[in-house]
Amino acid sequence: MNAVAILAVVSKGIALAQTLIEAGQSAAPAIKALAELLSGGQAEVTEEQLNETEKTLDALLAEFNAPLPEQDPPADPPPGGGQ
């Protein structure tokens, strides 16, 4: 495997790790909340907790549901076609 191929694999791994970390950071409070509730550590959900969860979920849905920005058009070929 040449250096360029290795670099591509490493780069892809870093991108994947970044995505995982972002997903984990956003999801962590929800996981913790579910775990606490189901472990019996909390008897009743408070209004504040419910509102906080709803606020987080609404923000995430708004982010995902936003229209995707326009893609940049492909760059024009250089004069002479690069030949």
Binding site: L20, S26, A27, I31, L37, L38, V45, D58, N65
Partner: protein, 136 residues
């Protein structure tokens, strides 16, 4: 029985978010949301609402991360098309959630169950679409 179902959901959620690669996270977590919505609790309490909302939050957190990676050019080649197809379903979630929240908080159980079933169907459709797209 309900406790066992909840325990299974937590295990699924934990595995989906913490142990799998990013694309699989979307897959596993949305599957977990489907599991979280079955069987339907009766009556639907504030705690049930809290559980459902947290489960969907975990799934949407994975999708939001997928979208960010896509915009950075770090996701798969079909990510834009995949996101737009999934948005058909996720854009129906806010009004469905708003109805469920309203009815649960008013303790209008008949309407809450209807809203719950509508949300459950929506999540099932969303999961099927995600599988059809191969966002796994």
């Amino acid at each position: 029985m309900r406790i066992f179902a909840k325990m299974a959901v937590v295990l699924l959620l934990g595995m989906g978010v913490l142990a799998l690669p990013a694309c699989s996270t979307v897959s596993e977590v949305t599957g977990a949301v489907t599991a979280a919505l079955q069987p339907r609790p009766n009556p639907i309490s504030r705690t049930d609402l809290y559980n459902i909302e947290n489960s969907i939050t975990i799934a949407v957190a994975g999708l939001a991360a997928y979208r960010r990676a896509c915009l950075r050019g770090q996701a798969d080649a079909n990510c834009r098309a995949n996101i737009e197809k999934l948005q058909v379903y996720t854009r129906k979630m806010p009004p469905a959630l708003a109805s469920l929240r309203k009815f649960v908080k008013e303790n209008n159980q008949v309407s809450a169950i209807t809203a719950y079933n509508a949300l459950k169907d929506l999540v099932a459709q969303f999961t099927a679409q995600r599988q059809a797209l191969g966002v796994t």
